[in-house]
Amino acid sequence: MNSILSVVPIEYYLGLSVILFTIGVMGVLFRRNAIIVFMCIELMLNAVNLLLTAFSTLHGEAGGQVMVFFIMAVAAAEVAVGLAILVMIYNNLRTVDIKEMNKLKW
């Protein structure tokens, strides 16, 4: 497995993960559509998954890849809950724009 890391060094994986993570953070902070915000959060989690897999290969230790499975399972549960909440809000408000949600003063 380490032959993969000799072709593409670990720094590249780290760099790519940081870039993906940053795109995710920016998306959460600046997009208004709740579904897009939601996708950006998933992007953040997947950046972490990529990083964990790369480190797991680097160290030759399976723990990181097991963690990835846990993260994927939890992310799936989060998607289920999140989409349910979004559908409920859409039913009540007919929109998923975050700026429209101002019943509670910020």
């Binding site: 709740a34 915000v37 953040m44 964990l52 097991v66 846990f70 509670l104």
Partner: protein
């Protein structure tokens, strides 16, 4: 461990209640189960066992906090059981509360970052649903969505931090990470960034400034009973995990994170207390006061000495018991739909007993002797002083004085001479009385002998 297993099974059983038609028995079953769990915690005392290949570690620290969250949940059940009764979804609500509690216990007893993450997520995902559980109320919807987006966002940071720590140390085990960090010679930039990212994730969860902005909205929008659960059980568990993680794992990196925690602790308590002064809604005031209390508890984490664990434990209990009493009163008010502080005007004239007990609880939250809150604050301040944080203690004392002002606003409202009409006053049912009196008595009891609670884990 037994407590964790019992509570998870109880959660599954609660989900079956609808299908197998034993809804009427649900509350007795849950209460019995929780008592059994509490008994197993007492029986396991002083055993110090590591479970599942060092995933969970039940030392006295974990057992004490586990017992505390189960006890708080039992008190919560006094009025919380209503939440399981008046809707057709009561089985689900009960299951979610129990899963939330099992997540809290996993989070308290973790000895591996994997279990920490899973516990945190079990706790959070159940809470997202609970916060949004009042489906027809737009405010509850909004609270659920805000909590969900903010919580998931924070999880992202936490995970990135965990991944970086894993990259530097090649293990998720707390002791393993501690040993690897103590040896040194691993990429310091990666480790430091990792620790700070984990800190950001955790500060989000404990609602510390500048990551607190979701808390007032979520607390206000969620159904009162859920807010009550969030402000007590969840906060206690989050702080237990916070302390456990940073005291066992990252202690050798204390130069990196202690200044950050100390500074944010000062900002959190000032901001929470100052914002609370301007609130007219009792519920929102309690939300800001819970932010301020998070700030006080962070002092103990910044001081990080031998009295920290005990003082966090004492404070978390004193604060949770006080909040339960305050929220019991708030719940009685919300029946009328009026949640502002002026809704309490003149309660002292019409129901003097309630007013006296509520005042006692406000004393406890404000930190006035001889009630629990005072001694909890005393130990926190003492720990910070011997840790050399005089400036932090000065800020804490000042912000406590601000706190006294808004807690007394409630007490003044209670004893106002021109009461509002009797029918607009909160209607306290027997269960509210029982909870209010119990919490007041426990607060007084802790106030009489605070040292034994603290000595449980110090």
């Amino acid at each position: 461990m037994k407590a964790l297993i019992i509570i998870s099974i109880l959660g599954v059983v609660a989900m079956m209640a609808d299908v197998l038609r034993f809804k009427k028995l649900l509350v007795p079953i849950i209460v019995t189960g929780l008592f059994i769990a509490l008994a197993t915690v007492c029986m396991d005392w002083n055993t110090d066992i590591r479970y599942f290949n060092d995933m969970a570690y039940f030392d006295n620290y974990a057992l004490a906090f586990t017992g505390a969250v189960i006890f708080i949940t039992l008190l919560w059940m006094l009025i919380g059981q209503e939440y399981f009764q008046d809707s057709h979804t009561k089985g689900e609500h009960a299951a979610l509360i129990l899963f939330c509690l099992s997540g809290a216990i996993a989070m308290i007893s973790f000895s591996d970052l994997t279990l920490f993450f899973i516990g945190l997520e079990i706790l959070s995902i159940s809470l997202y649903v609970l916060a949004a559980s009042n489906k027809s109320d737009l405010r509850s919807n909004e609270a659920g969505l805000k909590y969900f987006l903010m919580g998931a966002f924070a999880t992202g940071f936490l995970l990135f931090g965990i991944a970086l720590i894993y990259g530097a140390t090649a293990t998720f085990n707390l002791q393993g990470i501690h040993d690897a960090l103590a040896k040194g010679a691993i990429s310091p930039l990666m480790v430091k960034t990792g620790v700070l990212l984990i800190l950001v994730g955790l500060l989000f969860k404990v609602s510390a400034a500048p990551f607190h902005f979701w808390a007032p909205d979520v607390y206000e929008g969620s159904p009162t009973l859920v807010t009550m659960f969030m402000a007590t059980v969840v906060k206690t568990a989050a702080f237990a995990a916070f302390y456990r993680l940073f005291s066992t794992c990252f202690i050798s990196l204390s130069d990196t994170w202690i200044p950050v925690v100390a500074a944010l602790s000062a900002i959190t308590m000032l901001l929470g207390n100052i914002m609370a002064v301007f609130q007219t809604s009792f519920k929102r005031m309690l939300a800001y006061s819970s932010i301020a209390h998070a700030g006080y508890m962070m002092m103990a984490i910044a001081a990080m000495n031998e009295v920290s664990a005990g003082s966090i434990f004492l404070y978390a209990i004193a604060y949770s018991i006080g909040s339960l009493g305050a929220f019991a009163c708030l719940h009685a008010m919300s029946v009328n739909g009026d949640e502002s502080i002026s809704g309490l005007n003149g309660l002292g004239k019409r129901q003097p007993k309630v007013a006296i007990f509520l005042s006692l609880i406000m004393f406890s939250l404000a930190g006035i002797p001889p009630v629990a809150g005072f001694f909890a604050k005393y130990y926190l301040f003492y720990g910070a002083l011997i840790g050399g944080y005089t400036w932090l203690v000065i800020i804490a004392v000042m912000s406590s004085l601000i706190g006294v002002y808004y807690y007394f606003k409630v007490i003044f409202a209670l004893f106002k001479t021109n009461p509002i009409a009797a029918e607009e006053l909160p209607i306290l049912l027997p269960k509210h009385y029982v909870l209010l009196i119990l919490t007041a008595i426990i607060s007084l009891g802790i106030g009489v002998s605070p040292a034994w609670l603290q000595s449980l884990i110090s």
